[in-house]
Amino acid sequence: MTEMHDRDSRTGGLPLKEALFLGFCAVLILFTRAALRLHLQISGHSMFFTLFFLMLARGCVSYRLSATFVGVLSGLMAMVLGLGKGGLLIPLKFLLPALAVDLAALLVPGLFGSYLLCALAGAVASSTKFANTVLVDWLVGMDQAVLIQRGLLEAAGAILFGVPASLLIPSVIRRLRAYGVI
C-alpha cells in the first residue's frame, strides 16, 4: 500500500520529495536572477546562480532530466513574470544550459566528482548563451557581423561566471554524500 502510494505521488517518474527540491532550485534561480537585476552592465553575471542551481539539481537528484525540469519551471516562471530580455524566448535562456548539463551528466557518469569535468561542462552550458543571443538578435534584424560579435561577447561573459559556479559543485556534492543526504 505504502509502495503504491509512493509510486502514485510521483511527478512524471520523479518522487514528490525530489520534484519539490527541484522546484526550490527553480524558484531560487529566479530569486537570485531578480536580485542581480541591477543594470551594472556586467554581462553574464546571472549565469553564476543559474548554472549553480542547475548543476546542483542534477547532482543531487539522480533523474536524467533533473536540470531540464528545473530549466522548464524557471523558464516558464521567468516568462510569466517578465524577468530578463527576450520575451517569449526567455525559457530558452534556462532550457539550453539545462539540456547541456543533463547531456553532460548522461555522457560523463562521474561528472560531479571532478573539478575539471565540471568546469568543462559549465563552460559548454554557459556557451549556450551564444545561441540564445544570436537567435534573439537575428529575430530583431541585427546585422550579421555585429550579431556574431555580440553573441561571442555575451557567451564569454557567461563562461566567465558559469565556470566558477560549476567549480563549486564537486565539493558541495562530496559533502552532501558524506552527510548521507544524497
Partner: protein
C-alpha cells in the same frame, strides 16, 4: 499517518494556509483573473522606466494590496523589510560603481523591483494554495502545478532557514559577514558553513512537505481533487 513529524504537520498546515482567510473581493474574483492581473502588473513594472508610470503603477498596486490581501499589516512589514534591505544593497552598489551622485538611480531600480514583486506577494498571500493549483492546472499537469505553487509558497521559509543558519554560523565564528566575503579566501566558509547546511535543510523540508502531502492523500487518484472545490 503515524510517521508524520511535528515539522511535517506544520508543513501540512502551511500547504492549506490561507484557505479560509480571504477578503470579500478576493472570494469573489476568479483566481485566473487575479493571477493574470498580477502578471501584467509585474511586466508593467519592468517596462516602466520614468516617474509617471511608476507612480501610477504604485497606486494601482496599493489598491490591489488593500483590497485583496487579508493580512495587510504583515504584508506591509514584510514588504518594508525587503525594500529596505534591497535599497541598501542596490544604492550601495550604484554608489560604488558610478559614484555617490547616482544614488537616486539605484533607489529607482530598487522601487521598480519592489513594484515587480509586490503583485506576486499579494497573489500568494491572498489566494489559497488549492485555488492557485486549480488555476495552474488548466495550463499544466496537476503534479507539476502542485510542485510549482508549493515551491513558491515555501521559498520564504527556505530563506528564513538560510538566514537562521547564517546567524548561527556567525556566532560560531564563521567568516561570512559581507565585509569578510569581500576577501576571496573567505568564500570556502560561505560554502561549507552556509550553503551546504542550507541545501541539506531544503532537502529535509522537501521531504517533510512530501510526507505531509502524502498523509493528506496527494497522488491517490488519477485526477486531482480540490478542497474547497468548485
Amino acid at each position: 499517518m503515524r510517521g508524520e513529524s511535528g515539522r511535517a504537520r506544520r508543513a501540512g498546515l502551511m500547504l492549506a494556509a490561507g484557505a479560509e482567510r480571504q477578503t470579500w473581493l478576493g472570494r469573489r474574483l476568479p483566481t485566473g483573473l487575479v493571477a493574470a492581473a498580477s502578471v501584467c502588473l509585474s511586466v508593467a513594472a519592468f517596462a516602466a522606466r520614468t516617474a509617471p508610470p511608476m507612480v501610477g503603477l504604485s497606486a494601482v498596486e496599493l489598491v490591489m494590496a488593500l483590497t485583496l490581501c487579508p493580512q495587510r499589516r504583515r504584508l506591509a512589514r514584510d514588504g518594508a523589510r525587503v525594500l529596505a534591505w534591497q535599497t541598501a544593497v542596490i544604492v550601495g552598489l550604484y554608489a560604488l560603481r558610478y559614484g555617490a551622485t547616482e544614488w537616486h538611480e539605484g533607489a529607482r531600480i530598487s522601487w521598480q523591483l519592489f513594484l515587480a514583486f509586490l503583485p506576486g506577494m499579494v497573489l500568494l498571500r491572498s489566494t489559497p494554495a488549492p485555488r492557485l493549483v486549480q488555476a495552474l492546472n488548466r495550463v499544466m499537469p496537476y503534479r507539476a502545478a502542485f510542485v510549482l505553487t508549493t515551491s513558491l509558497r515555501f521559498v520564504p521559509l527556505v530563506l528564513r532557514e538560510v538566514r537562521a543558519i547564517h546567524e548561527v554560523q556567525l556566532l560560531r565564528g564563521a567568516r561570512v559577514l559581507p565585509r569578510d566575503l569581500a576577501r576571496p579566501w573567505n568564500w570556502p566558509d560561505l560554502v561549507n558553513c552556509v550553503l551546504v547546511p542550507a541545501i541539506i535543510q531544503s532537502l529535509a523540508l522537501a521531504g517533510e512537505i512530501s510526507l505531509a502531502a502524502r498523509a493528506r492523500g496527494f497522488g491517490c487518484g488519477e485526477r486531482r481533487t480540490y478542497w474547497p472545490g468548485s
